[in-house]
């Protein structure tokens, strides 16, 4: 309930900032305004990040089929910039990524990239190293979950 109230407050701040903007839809200005709203917000959860994923239930056992789906998505949308080893290419290598971040953080980052780069301290620290803003690759929720499963497989989950 507390979280819901916080979200509502942030929402109303964003809406208030957008006031008088008769033509531009809220979405065009929302990303920048989110950043001021959330970074000044002490209740921002840096482990969860910003986005729709909250309490993600992870089965200790690997879903092999789902990880296979994720590998296909990786080849099309991620592999140009991320190696599966520890080596950085454009972005960081994926080895051990699932031990560095919580599942919700990863899922939020890959689906809500722009907003996270604007507010999240860990994402911003990474940007300072890589200097290329990670593109939003327009992943569906299903694709995001499959990618997470593929990351787990890459990290040795059986």
């Amino acid at each position: 309930m507390k979280k819901l109230i916080v979200i509502l407050i942030i929402g109303s701040i964003v809406a208030a900032c957008g006031g008088g903007n008769s033509h531009a839809p809220a979405a065009t200005t929302a990303s920048t305004e989110n950043s001021t709203a959330a970074s000044g917000n002490p209740s921002y959860d840096p482990n969860r990040g910003e986005g729709k994923f909250k309490d993600v239930q992870i089965n200790p056992k690997l879903d092999v089929a789902l990880a296979g789906e994720g590998e296909k998505v990786y080849n099309v949308k991620c592999g140009s910039c991320h190696k599966l080893s520890e080596e950085r290419l454009v972005g960081p290598g994926w080895k051990a990524v699932t031990t560095r971040h919580e599942a919700a953080w990863i899922l939020n980052f890959i689906t809500n990239t722009d907003a996270m780069l604007n507010v999240d301290p860990k994402a911003q620290a990474q940007l300072e190293i890589c200097l290329v803003r990670m593109p939003n690759q327009s992943l569906t929720d299903k694709e995001a979950l499959s990618l997470y499963e593929f990351m787990r497989k890459n990290d040795g989950v059986k």
Binding site: A24, N75, K77, V90, V132, P135, N136
Partner: protein, 664 residues
């Protein structure tokens, strides 16, 4: 020698400029009100209220402006090549400019027309005409790209186009230059015009669902010049009205010889009747050649097909398709009011504007109230078709748009003004000067059943002193008027591309949310698409080399290519792997005799390159994409013909030899 102090200079200049303005009664200062800036101001980050689709005239393109700010939002390449966007240079788009004459890299786009449903703008497509090599283009308003271009046989100077019926069943194309039909011998003496030349009007069908165009039928008409046209609407739906000049059938010094008759014609066409004759099999099959070019969003590729037959109705053989209505002195604009009752003909050389009544035309046809015929087409008695004449409105009337409140706005080229007048009682209500010599004018929805009369835009032919001088050539000027009150108020000047002729405007909300932001990579069916860097490769097939190359911030894959030989035909099939809005990548190669490619996210586009000289050729991304954009580049090694350097390609592994050695 006299020396002036700076104060004296200022005084002199002041006096001089005062006297200059004194000589020019119609100066800007007197025409612009104090609140004009606020009315045209759109604050940074805010959107305009209207999209304005403006013909690019001799640029061959169509431009999109925001109103009321006059901001140029986009130039859509249509009939002319556009190296900036690779239009006509990429392998995928070359076919769009194909014609029965071969690839034509330029044309003259005069009029724009937004598609309608029930007589209202529906925001699906905008059409444009090519005046020189007769064609009609359809632009998809989800991508703002030209989706289709169809060529028109039996035509020359496709000026009376691309006007539409009220449900976009048809786009029409009336020929400005009459010519011998394509299946006749055109190698005849020019002075046999009266015997051999015909005027043709094409009815192009538009598929309700996907917009695909085909020539449904053509009307073969007397050899006059068809100038402009508009469809009936509401009560007059089923009819089309075309202005005709040169009823003298002159073929030389038209300036004099086509201005002899006191009246030329508006031609009324009962297109539903023509449609019936076609359905009944009355069309004559004529052997012709014309190109039908379509762009497929799934393969990101255009194909051109040459078609070889059209159905023709010779209107003199069908007594109830066409009727001529006399109209004073070389009519130009031919505009139908929102109710469909009034048809305004604007004789370029006339001192009055006649308004015809659809009801009266119908009565006259029923009563056979004809004064004779012209080449076998009945001519309705002028007075019997006339609602009334707008007397002494101004000089050189050209075009009329409507506000849906009973008023018409007509442009006057010679007296350089817009005149607002009431259609029913034919009284002039207001005049506004334009700078200078207005041609077309636009009110959003102003030729539809439902105008949105907040603004009027004048598209002027002469610019002169409106902007800072830029040498002999000046941008043509458009001017925005607020017409929400009783009086027109000038609020903004803005420059345009090419020469703007007709333009249309629509409330932004009709289009804004339908705009495509990127192409889904999953839906890319280009035969050489690379869905991920794993698909990147270089394959030799004889002297053809196909490179599957990917683009993503901020590298090319592959970025090191060897084994290319002089004389090879190298095809770079570049796929942009980004899946986000506004992240195009560009692609260019030193010495390529084409242009750059501009590849949208999820799209595959191909650059063909035939290296002529052995050596090292850099390639790079031309569209600043990230902090490491300058790093987005690569090398292609070209060896002499007959060399045995094998094909090899890589990204990130072909490290300098010294580095490899030092690691060992």
């Amino acid at each position: 020698m006299t020396h002036f102090s700076s104060k004296q200079w200022a005084l002199l200049i002041g006096c001089f400029s005062l006297s200059m303005f004194a000589c020019k009664p119609k100066n800007t200062g007197s025409a612009v009100g104090a609140d004009a800036a606020a009315k045209a101001y759109v604050a940074p980050g805010q959107y305009d209220q209207f999209y304005n689709f403006v013909s690019g005239g001799f640029s061959g393109q169509m431009s999109v402006y925001g109103l009321p700010s006059g901001r140029l939002l986009r130039v859509i390449p249509v009939f002319s090549v556009d190296p900036e966007k690779g239009w006509g240079y990429s392998e995928e788009t070359k076919a769009m400019l194909n014609t029965s004459h071969g690839m034509v890299p330029w044309d003259d786009l005069h009029h724009t027309e937004l598609s309608q449903t029930n007589g209202e703008i529906d925001g699906r497509w905008v059409f444009g005409n090519a005046n020189n090599t007769p064609r009609v283009a359809r632009i998809d308003l989800t991508t703002f790209r030209t989706a289709e271009i169809i060529e028109l046989p039996n035509s020359a100077g496709n000026h009376s186009s691309p006007f539409i019926t009220e449900n976009t069943e048809y786009v029409v194309a009336g020929t400005r230059f009459s010519v011998p039909p394509d299946d006749a011998n055109g190698d005849v003496a020019i002075d046999t015009y009266k015997d051999n030349f015909k005027g043709t009007i094409s009815f192009i069908s538009v598929d309700k669902n996907d917009g695909k165009m085909d020539i449904a039928f053509q009307l073969q008409c007397p050899g006059v010049n068809f100038d402009l046209s508009h469809a009936g609407k509401g009560k007059s739906n089923g009819w089309f009205f075309f202005s005709c000049y040169n009823t003298e059938k002159a073929s030389t010094l038209l300036e004099v010889n086509a201005s002899q008759r006191d009246k030329d014609f508006i031609m009324a066409v009962n297109w539903k009747k023509a449609e019936e004759y076609i359905k009944a099999g009355k069309g004559r099959k004529q052997s012709v050649k014309y190109a039908s070019n379509r762009y497929d969003e799934k393969t990101h590729t255009a194909t051109s097909q040459i078609k070889t037959e059209v159905l023709v109705l010779d209107v003199k053989d069908f007594k109830d398709i066409c009727y001529f209505i006399p109209c004073p002195k070389s009519p130009h604009g031919c505009d139908v009011d929102p109710t469909g009752e009034y048809i305004v003909g604007s004789g370029k050389l006339a001192a009055l504007v006649p308004v015809f009544s659809f009801d009266k035309i119908q009565k006259a046809i029923a009563a056979k109230d004809f004064i004779g015929d012209y080449d076998g087409i009945p001519v309705i008695k002028y007075e019997s078709a006339l609602h009334g004449e707008l007397q002494k409105p101004g000089l050189g009337p050209l075009h009329t748009e409507f506000d849906g409140k009973g008023n018409a706005y007509t442009s006057f080229f010679v007296s350089s003004e817009v005149v607002k007048w009431n259609i029913k009682d034919l009284k002039v209500l207001d005049r506004a000067a334009t700078y200078y010599s207005i041609g077309h004018l636009t009110i959003p929805g102003g030729d539809s059943k439902k105008p949105d009369p907040k603004y009027l835009i004048a598209y002027n032919k002469i610019t002169k002193d409106r902007y800072l001088p830029t040498g002999p050539e000046l941008s043509q000027s458009a001017q925005l008027f607020d017409i929400s009150g009783d009086k027109m108020q000038l609020i903004l000047d803005f420059p345009t591309i090419g020469e703007p002729h007709y333009a249309q405007a629509v409330e932004a909300s009709v289009l804004r949310d339908k705009s495509v932001k990127f192409f889904k990579i999953e839906d890319n069916f280009h035969p050489y698409a690379s869905k991920g860097e794993g698909d990147a490769k270089v394959v030799r097939k004889g002297n053809q080399v196909h490179v599957n190359l990917t683009l993503i911030r901020s590298h090319l894959t592959p970025d090191n290519i060897e084994g290319i030989k002089v004389g090879d035909e190298v095809y770079f099939h570049t796929t942009n792997l980004e899946q986000d809005w506004d992240v195009p990548h560009g692609f260019a190669i030193k010495g390529a005799l084409t242009a750059e490619l501009l590849v949208m996210p999820g799209e595959t586009t191909t650059l063909k390159w035939i290296p002529k000289k052995a050596g090292m050729y850099p390639m790079y991304c031309t569209d600043f994409c990230s902090a490491l954009h300058q790093e987005m580049s690569g090398y292609i090694r070209v060896s002499p013909a007959g060399s045995n350097v094998p094909i090899s390609f890589s990204t990130g592994t072909n490290l300098p030899k010294s580095t490899v050695n030092s690691k060992k």
